[in-house]
Symmetry: C2
Subunit: 205 residues, 2 copies
Amino acid sequence: MKQLDFFYFFGSGYAYLSVMRIDGMAKQSGVAVRWRPFNVRTVMAENNIALSTQAAKVKYMWRDVERRAATHGVPYVRAPFWPTDPDLLANRVAMVAAEEGWCEAYSVASFRAWYLEGMELGSRAHLEHVLSPLGQHIDDVIAKADGRLAHERLKAETDAARSYGIFGSPAFVVDGETFWGDDRLEEALAWAAGRHDLQTLNHDG
Amino acid sequence: MKQLDFFYFFGSGYAYLSVMRIDGMAKQSGVAVRWRPFNVRTVMAENNIALSTQAAKVKYMWRDVERRAATHGVPYVRAPFWPTDPDLLANRVAMVAAEEGWCEAYSVASFRAWYLEGMELGSRAHLEHVLSPLGQHIDDVIAKADGRLAHERLKAETDAARSYGIFGSPAFVVDGETFWGDDRLEEALAWAAGRHDLQTLNHDG
């Protein structure tokens, strides 16, 4: 089965759309997804594209997410708290979850709580709300998320994202081919399935 | 007939895709297009998103344009000279063309020459190649493009783009609703035709 690496950040507005869409779409395409949260703040700073100084772009982003959610039938209430997860706790909990095999369930629950229930990512309320139904004990998880292993994994995954030329979230990598943005999810899956028009053209030519 | 304002820049890689696609798609949707070149360099600088310092993003852009050209059946040979049109001459000629009613034909011919024939936008060779078939005399046109009116129009169109919250090229505006990027052209046309899902949702609710 073809594999797609899904790179995303807890706190990225557009990642919400992919978190909500990717499982069903990948199954339909027969593609296996590896959920790989990474620290997009680092690579955005390195590329001089931190959003905080781009007022017009930020304003546009939330309206665009609202429109795209409607287009894709993804639930939407309002623009969420942003920026959020100041000390990356929600992202470091994701490292624990990835290590232990419950990253996808944690990610979907987290983004839903953030977008649909107005919670701040990484807050006590958010983590309690999300972790309990997953059978995880909040204090144990936070202890691990504060540990060396979680910090190292987040750095390693961010290095991996950078090595694929990724500069924003979400992004998708298939056989070393990088696609940036939720609006490229369809193309990334087509690439994985070998039915992207560029592949076809190259094959014909 | 509904109107869509098409804001783009001579020298914007992604604008090529829209320049090549918009006429046929708009006709199919029954939407009238107003071609409005503007100075994206100004608004990108204002928003701290000048591409020149974003190596990973620039590298990604050309590969993405190549893939998207294949997806849309738009001809593609290689990434064009870039950056190009250093003193905005190709863009200022567009102001003359817009004033005189031949902006669309000039734009399509310019982008084709830039992408498909390897010409530098605004170079003597480029302008000769593009203007002659349009029945325009190069020296007359350059004289007007260097004049006060062309400079003022470019500034006014850039002000208009900024007032719509535009921070990049290409962008589309319909009834004050702004869409950024060639990948939003379908949505902008759907909006113009009143069949965007967000409009439908609002109407139902």
